[in-house]
Symmetry: C2
Subunit: 240 residues, 2 copies
């Protein structure tokens, strides 16, 4: 990450309409843990800050402010309840508006003139973690579960957003079966999250392949000999 322990900064973005939500409780526990560990943490509660998620024109003072928050971060956490198997519109719109072309992706490389993306880009040097709460049962978000595999479900965010803009994508922190849980269980879930955050600097990210000629052809599909025979997200990872 190129930073000493003392200088690490995190941006924690959350999107839930209620301040008494499980999302808020887990955020408070997670942010407290990061601060105990020496992180500077900037909390972006998009509902509380009344962020406008509707992209009309590019730019705007609010977009510039969010971009500065991103640039200051070594770790970006996006926390949200799973709505229709994706982020709430509030968070989707934060991405739509803030991750602008020329800022987050298609940043020209002065050496080659090539537009930087997929493993390179405006947000390179950062790692990104999605923290997601879902009402689904654990077994339903699985390779043969009715909701699909967790990394397939989050492919647009993990590969198409985090990795696309140069950030290292960490495996999503998915919490299932959240309907009707009590305070004790919420605290337990918070401690599990806090434990993970305690080791987040050194956790291995998903080993997605960079968009280079070594792996991809001109249509930007994998060369036949790369991860031969695989399709889906697994095809785009370095073989373990």
């Amino acid at each position: 990450m190129g930073h000493e322990r003392e200088s690490a900064h995190a941006l924690w973005v959350s999107a839930h309409p209620r301040s008494d939500s499980l999302t808020a409780r887990l955020r408070d526990i997670g942010v407290a843990r990061l601060r105990e560990d020496g992180w500077g943490v900037d909390v972006a509660d998009l509902y509380a800050e009344r962020f406008d998620p509707v992209l009309v024109d590019e730019g705007g003072a609010d977009v510039r402010a969010e971009q500065r928050r991103l640039l200051a971060a070594d770790l970006v956490v996006l926390q949200f309840p799973l709505w229709w198997y994706g982020p709430p519109a509030m968070l989707k719109g934060w991405i739509d508006r803030v991750f602008e072309r020329g800022f987050a992706y298609d940043v020209p490389d002065p050496a080659t003139g090539r537009n930087r993306k997929y493993g390179d880009g405006g947000l390179v040097g950062r790692r990104a973690l999605a923290v997601v709460t879902a009402g689904d049962r654990a077994g339903s978000i699985a390779p043969r579960g009715i909701s699909g595999d967790v990394e397939d479900l989050f492919w647009p965010l993990l590969h198409g957003t985090f990795w696309y803009t140069g950030m290292e994508a960490l495996a999503p922190h998915l919490i299932t079966d959240v309907h009707g849980i009590d305070e004790k269980e919420a605290d337990r879930l918070g401690h599990v999250l806090a434990d993970r955050l305690g080791a987040i600097r050194t956790e291995a990210p998903i080993p997605y392949l960079p968009m280079t000629d070594e792996f991809y052809d001109h249509s930007i599909a994998l060369h036949p000999h790369v991860t031969a025979g695989l399709t889906g997200g697994a095809a785009h990872r370095r073989p373990s």
Copy 2:
């Protein structure tokens, strides 16, 4: 669909900030074709109608109005530019707010008491089509393309939203390489779309499996003998 040709209605929902966009042009061509074929078409231009996509509390007069529009439709078209491999926040929020529990899903079946979803639900009897424009090259949205396979990319919408609420999901109408196209090419793309719409009443939908005990267990994962050995979206289809 249980309707004579004379009585068929479509709801065409589009989400693009510009009225001179390719989205608007394709919508106008598509809507004209449906009307020529005898459909009644309700056009919901979410930006022009200034829909509020931010879910705070459930319900609201605007949500009830959108729900009536859905209930009146035999065919639901959701048209959008692909932003970060998903719908713009404006459209995502229309789904977040309008597809309420008890309206679109988890509608109790009076006979069994079971909550209806995945092949059943509040929107059963309708078919749904996503019409999507993307800057990506065609080869990059493919089983080994860097953006992933089209039906994997749209899994949250096709299976997790359309099918979840009881609608038959049609294969997405994806248009790639849209940056910098001229008027002639836009018209050609419009005609391809219109041709498809001309046969949309009888097009075979994606044959997703219903959420019944025949196919899924109590964790809502597929029984081992169903589509044995498959994972991903293909596992949840009737074998052809």
